[in-house]
């Protein structure tokens, strides 16, 4: 019970933070560039940020589900999927969408590192949780301590 609450809350907090990073913690660069021709184009990093919001919310839901579900098997499934969402959070700024060309831009300096760190923490927490539950579950049928 204590572990269920703890793992769920930890993952939910990581998800919430990840969703908030582009919104208010470390926003990406100003969302529109003015071209010399006078038009306006949103930059890649803005879309990366939007995608991270989505991934963050998905992870947040994963954390909540970890608290809601009691069955260890279901929680293993949720953990694995949430870990994969974390991998997605890792891939968006690095491979899938990316951001500015210059490493001193807001997106590459703060938004992406924060997203990458939170994604790594999410993956680690979910993988550890899945591993722990799997081992517990393996022992369950022969366990005699009645817990």
């Amino acid at each position: 019970m204590k572990n269920r609450l703890l793992s769920g809350i930890a993952v939910a907090v990581f998800g919430l933070l990840l969703a908030l990073v582009p919104v208010c913690i470390f926003p990406a660069c100003a969302k529109v560039i003015e071209t010399a021709a006078g038009g306006t184009v949103p930059m890649k990093c803005f879309w990366s940020g939007q995608a991270e919001i989505g991934v963050g919310l998905l992870i947040l839901c994963g954390g909540v589900l970890l608290i809601v579900f009691k069955s260890p098997l279901t929680r293993i499934g949720v953990s694995v999927m949430t870990a994969l969402a974390g991998v997605l959070g890792l891939l968006v700024p690095t491979l899938l969408i990316g951001g500015c060309e210059m490493s001193t831009m807001a997106c590459r300096m703060t938004t992406f590192p924060a997203a990458v760190v939170l994604s790594i923490l999410t993956v680690a927490a979910c993988a550890a949780n899945a591993h722990y539950l799997w081992r517990q579950n393996k022992n369950l049928p022969v366990k005699t301590d009645g817990r």
Partner: protein
């Protein structure tokens, strides 16, 4: 039934698990120490490397700038903050004529509103490839010809390849060289010859008025190299005396560097004092916790003896417990430090406003190894007293005292 064998490590692990509060507290303490030790060392090493690289390769002894802009040239050089200050191009000739001056080279700074990649003010620096001795030493690939019009050299933080075309203000430039990582403002700057820089200034007129567009005979600073045997201070004074009335002021590079290294020394000292205090604190707290716990655990250890554990087994049990705490704490602290200091390195250097160069992987692993060792040593050091004491006591007395 979990049938894992009851090795020393497993027994210690079980013992730690039954006291989650105490165990977590001790691990957090060690983690804090490891975090400070590793993170702090990497930080100060990076700043030191940035500093060294700056003082080693900054070829200019004196920077002549318009009066009132001494601070701006520093932020332009160190942080690449776009600056706009100008004086007449004739200053170059004037300064060159001062006694003790060997070489002079003018530079022109143009702050852009937006560059091709991003809506971020970018520092464009125009320099004279013929006389330059400041920019070229940083180039990764030597130029086979003086920089022609329309050709640019880019700082290491700009991700473009040599040979690629970049567009600023509707003009296409071809990247002919890239600078090595400098850890300072040069990393985010774009360099071109003076004629090209003036052309860019004229183009940017369409978006915002630019002084260089109106008067093509402006430059921002003059880099000065002095002759051997002359004192930098004297030459700087001579320049001031002769041309202060024309609005020329000077920044002595050595002073700039010694200012930074002064800050840096302060920071490094602070980091190491903090790490030292944390280390002593961790060792002290662990010694107290283990000694106090020892009295309460005499009965437990006598039971081990009754069951046939040797004295050395007891010593190993205690050492193992403290080592588990210190290794878990150390690894956690160092991972946390790595998650902060590596992804956010650019942000940290921007916050500090100091040249920041991450050390090589070899240096990094040496720092990591050393931090690991120092932080891990807390465990065995703290429990050695308790271990020796329990190893000496007789079973009969410990059974009695434990009752």
């Amino acid at each position: 039934m979990d049938a894992k064998p009851l090795t020393t490590v497993n027994i210690s692990f079980q013992t730690l698990r039954r006291k989650p509060f105490r165990t977590t507290g001790l691990i957090v303490l060690v983690a804090l120490l490891a975090f400070t030790l590793f993170g702090g060392t990497v930080l100060s090493k990076s700043l030191e490397d940035g500093m060294n690289s700056l003082s080693k390769r900054l070829g200019a002894d004196i920077l002549a700038v318009p009066y009132g802009y001494e601070a701006d040239i520093q932020s332009a050089m160190l942080r690449g903050e776009p600056s706009t200050f100008y004086f007449d191009a004739g200053v170059t000739e004037k300064v060159a004529g001062v006694e003790g001056v060997e070489d002079v080279s003018p530079q022109l700074y143009i702050a852009t509103l937006s560059a091709g990649c991003c809506s971020y003010p970018l520092q464009l620096i125009g320099f004279d490839p013929e006389t330059d001795f400041v920019i070229q030493p940083w180039m990764l690939n030597a130029l086979d010809h003086p920089l022609a019009d329309g050709e640019i050299v880019i700082g290491s933080s700009i991700s473009a390849k040599v040979g690629q075309k970049l567009i600023f203000f509707n003009q296409t430039f071809s990247v002919t060289a890239q600078l090595d990582k400098t850890g300072m403002g040069f990393d985010t700057s774009v360099f071109m010859n003076l004629a090209t820089a003036k052309q860019v200034a004229r183009e940017s007129e369409r978006l915002k008025a630019h002084p260089v567009a109106e008067n093509a005979d402006l430059i921002s600073s003059v880099m000065v190299k002095i002759k051997n045997g002359y004192d930098v201070k004297d030459v700087a004074n001579s320049i001031l005396q002769a041309y202060a009335k024309d609005g020329v002021h000077v920044v002595v590079a050595k002073n700039m560097i010694s200012d930074i290294s002064g800050n840096l020394r302060g920071l490094t000292t602070y980091i190491f004092i903090l790490a030292g205090v944390l280390w002593a604190l961790a060792v002290g707290v662990l010694i107290i916790v283990f000694s106090v716990a020892l009295n309460g655990r005499k009965r437990e250890f006598s039971i081990f003896r009754v069951l046939g554990a040797t004295k050395s087994k007891l010593v190993r049990l205690i050492l193992c417990e403290s080592c588990l705490i210190s290794i878990i704490g150390t690894v956690a602290g160092m991972l946390a430090a790595a998650l902060v200091i590596f992804p956010f390195s650019t942000y940290i250097s921007a916050l500090l406003g100091l040249p920041y160069l991450q050390p090589s992987y070899g240096t990094l692993s040496a720092v990591a190894g050393l931090s690991l060792l120092i932080s891990f040593a807390v465990g065995p050091l703290a429990s050695i007293y308790a271990a020796v004491k329990i190893g000496r006591s007789e079973i009969y007395s410990t059974i009695k005292e434990g009752e």
